[in-house]
Amino acid sequence: MTTPAPSLPEQTPQTGPRKVPSRAMLRYILRRLSQAILVMLLVVIGSFFLIKMAPGDFVDTLAGTSDLTAEQMANLRARYGLDQPVPVQLMYYIARLATLDLGYSPFNNAPVLDILVKRWPVTAILVVTSVSISMVVGTLLGVMAARFSGKPVDLGISILMLLFYATPNFIIAVILILIFSIKMNVFPIAGFATIASGYTGWEYIRDVAWHLAMPVTALCTFFIAIYGRIGRAAMLEVLTLDYIRTARGKGLTERRVIYVHALRNALLPLVTMAGLQVSALVGGAVLIETIFGLNGMGRTAFDAVFQRDTNLLLGVLFVSSLSVVVVNFIIDLLYMVLDPRVEIK
């Protein structure tokens, strides 16, 4: 009889959907959680030492914007623990961030967390749309290239991928602006939505889509190239496998063989990559948001650099990393749905 995966209970014939043992599930969640904590700890410790390396501390920055006496500065340092030894300060810092206290932004005159909560959705929409589009378009191009491997279609797609792969997103952004905003005047040059338009419902969504068309495209091309290249390779690999021959031997149409049998399997390596892509896209969003005047977290990071607002800058890093960690967890769950062979161990 079957030898089930070690952690699974013997399958009883009558059961419908298989049940995941709760202890294994708990262990899995704990492991993922510890990984997530490690990432965040790394971010926090890195941030702490960056602050230490920066010329002048937080009180110095404050002193630059308002007049403080030496005594006041000493008091402030004592209050924020800046007179403590470095390891103690680090502990304070970790404890502070663990409670999501990201500090205060003197320039914006507001807590960093409040600012970022407001800016977060713009980046989230940008990144999620871009990941989805680049995955779909890239994979389809990869599938087409694999299906017509060695033919002109394949060559054309491969050249396009090579160009997309070599062109940084900010150059794509500038090219798009030049062509579609300056020369042809079809897409708005900047902004998230038409200001004071009073649009609601579908009209508002259309307006936003219109504004985001160029930023999303600029952010996508590189990842389309990545998905296209890997998708092509994965597809070529899968198409040589036995079960594809079985599917053809059943008399299925080539369409069904490619899009049902091969694609679902070729998608698996692509999904595992999505986590890394999200991380890279969040980074790319800094450039794109800055260029297109979108008030998201990336733009906030850019502004923070020039306002010498270290709390805000490191806050963006913290919140972005946290978001990526959460997205990675969701992608893992998605992978389990896509690949029945993956069991929780």
């Binding site: 990984q35 490690l38 990432v39 790394l42 971010v43 890195g46 941030s47 960056l50 602050i51 390396m53 920066a54 010329p55 090579l162 160009l163 792969y165 070599a166 062109t167 940084p168 900010f170 150059i171 500038v174 090219i175 602006i177 030049l178 300056i182 986590g275 890394l276 991380s279 890279a280 969040v282 980074g283 790319g284 800094v286 450039l287 800055t290 260029i291 990336g298 990071a301 850019f302 923070a304 650099v305 020039f306 270290t310 800058l313 490191l314 963006v316 890093l317 972005s320 990393s321 990526v324 960690v325 990675n328």
Partner: protein, 283 residues
């Protein structure tokens, strides 16, 4: 199969995309090497009429920027920065990545566990954002930029090297080295490392390309070293002029894209040349 440097280079020249890539990179190297001779006064001189279009003034074949600086000089000096930052950052991350990967793969066990968890975590953090944070907080200078790029790009190499070390450490030649009492250090660097150079070499061209893009992106944001003229700097100063003088953006963009393209082509070619097995599977 011999994979001595000389024969690899010769086979690279016979590979179509390898040849194209090498030619472009040779041109960029030539540009950066000759920048000092052809433009001894540097890229910052305000020599011409601002916003001269290419082909109008023979003294400035590619025109001038908004301040009247020569585009050709800027491009030549920019090549220097791109190559230097690309090569230096790639080198530093190669060193870090190789060390981490070699130690993790060779010793295995808890050390491997810890180092790989660290690598995982590093790969999860949005790297460009981390680079901005480093440069933004510490201050923009060439060395900071190089370190920032290296710090965020070593994990890829570490994974690659670790995988090869895990595989190779079980081989007989490694076991016999241990038996004759060779030190771990000598086995790692003298015996195993030379056997996993191929994937490292292939990915280093991609590493250089990524570093060049990251430097240009930072400079485009205004986070480049203010004392050097990089292609990103030219792009950054050209952006407000997009409406009237898009050539200011076009030239550095083309230079950047061609360089990155060339490095990717070389990487693909190296992959074909160094991995004959993969090549067979492709055809």
């Amino acid at each position: 199969m011999s994979t001595s440097g000389h024969s690899v280079f010769r086979r690279l020249l016979r590979h179509p995309s390898g040849l194209v890539g090498l030619l472009i990179i040779a041109l960029v190297v030539l540009m950066s090497a000759s920048a000092g001779f052809i433009f001894p006064e540097g890229p910052w001189v305000l020599g011409g009429r601002p916003r001269t279009w290419p082909g109008v003034d023979p003294a400035f074949p590619l025109g001038t920027d908004a301040l009247g600086r020569d585009m050709v000089a800027a491009l030549f000096y920019g090549a220097r920065v791109s190559l230097a930052v690309g090569a230096a950052a790639a080198l530093v991350s190669l060193v870090i990545g190789t060390l981490v990967g070699a130690i993790a793969g060779y010793y295995g066990g808890w050390l491997d566990d810890v180092l790989m968890r660290l690598t995982d975590a590093m790969q999860t953090i949005p790297s460009f954002l981390a680079a901005i944070a480093i440069v933004g907080v510490v201050g923009a200078s060439l060395s900071t930029i190089i370190i920032a790029i290296a710090v965020v790009s070593w994990p890829m190499i570490a994974r690659l090297v670790r995988a090869d070390f895990l595989r190779l450490r079980t081989y007989d030649f490694v076991q016999s080295c241990k038996i004759i009492g060779m030190s771990d250090l000598r086995i790692i660097f003298g015996q195993i490392l030379p056997n996993c150079l191929a994937p490292i070499i292939v990915s280093s061209s991609v590493l250089v390309a990524t570093a060049i893009i990251t430097e240009a992106s930072l400079a485009f944001l205004g986070l480049g070293d203010p004392n050097v003229m990089s292609w990103g700097t030219i792009l950054s100063t050209g952006r407000p002029e997009l409406r009237s003088g898009w050539y200011m953006t076009a030239f550095p963009a083309v230079a950047l894209v061609l360089t990155v393209l060339a490095l990717n082509l070389i990487g693909d070619a190296l992959n074909d040349v160094l991995n004959p097995r993969l090549k067979e599977r492709k055809s």
